[in-house]
Amino acid sequence: MTNRVLLDANGLRVSRATKDVISAGIGDLKFNSDWSQLGVFATGSKAPSWSIISSTEGYWHDTSAFGRTFATAPLVFFDLDAGGGVYVPVGDASGFTYHQEYGVGTNYWWVVVQVSTTGLTFNARYNKPTSGWTRPSFTIKWSAMYYNL
């Protein structure tokens, strides 16, 4: 029978099926206690509450605190869903910028999400001088990992 689990003073290693853990290279391991493990620390979602600048412009600023301070900014996965099938969700791992224009820079909206050691910062802005263009509506879902980048 193939040796699959090795637990010794150096830690724990588990090999992939048919691979002997004692002689396995790193690519043959399914678990290595020398590597980091992804685990979800917290999840959440945000939708913009627009502050109105004028009849055509608005902005949004918001934060989400982690409730603790990491040594470095944690790994965070995002999903941006603008709904209506207009935009596809995007994933990212440490903050992102998304900018959408309609026409030649007249109608636009953008959102920037940034990750710090203590939480997330959301900034967004829109401009809609063309009549009939609706104010953007979107939801940002996030999952923060214990693992730091």
């Binding site: 099926a17 790193i26 678990f31 290595n32 493990q37 412009e57 953008w110 940034q114």
Partner: protein, 123 residues
């Protein structure tokens, strides 16, 4: 108390909270010999490489091209694995933000690129 950890000559299993590891199915396990585990083999932060630049990063040789997470809050970018041990990142222009100087908070994007190399092969 629920049995959560099973270590035998055949392998190691760890069940989810509330699930008996002796009777639980593979999809009720945090760790199982039958399923893969997602781990980070190497990670790092590349200081702002600038727009339209190419950066090569040496990664551990796992014998295959692994799944990699790359992110940046400033630039459009692409990345490719040119071999099992080389991650090539190419930045393009910064994502433009109309009127970002009018935002209530000054937005500073540091342009750093963060990456994590996982232990899973790209299928």
């Amino acid at each position: 108390m629920t049995n959560r950890v099973l270590l035998t000559s055949g392998g190691l299993w760890v069940s989810q909270p509330g699930v008996d590891v002796l009777t639980g199915t593979d999809d009720q396990m945090l760790f199982s010999m039958a399923t893969e585990s997602l781990q980070v083999v190497q990670s790092g932060v590349i200081s702002d490489p600038g727009a339209n630049s190419t950066t090569n990063v040496t990664i551990p040789d796992q014998g295959f091209k692994p799944f990699v997470i790359v992110s940046c809050d400033k630039y459009n970018f692409t990345f490719e694995l040119t071999s099992n041990t080389n991650l090539r990142l190419k930045t393009q222009s910064a994502v433009s933000l109309t009127n970002d100087n009018l935002a209530p908070t000054v937005i500073t994007r540091d342009g750093s690129v963060r990456y994590a190399v996982l232990n899973q092969v790209i299928e």
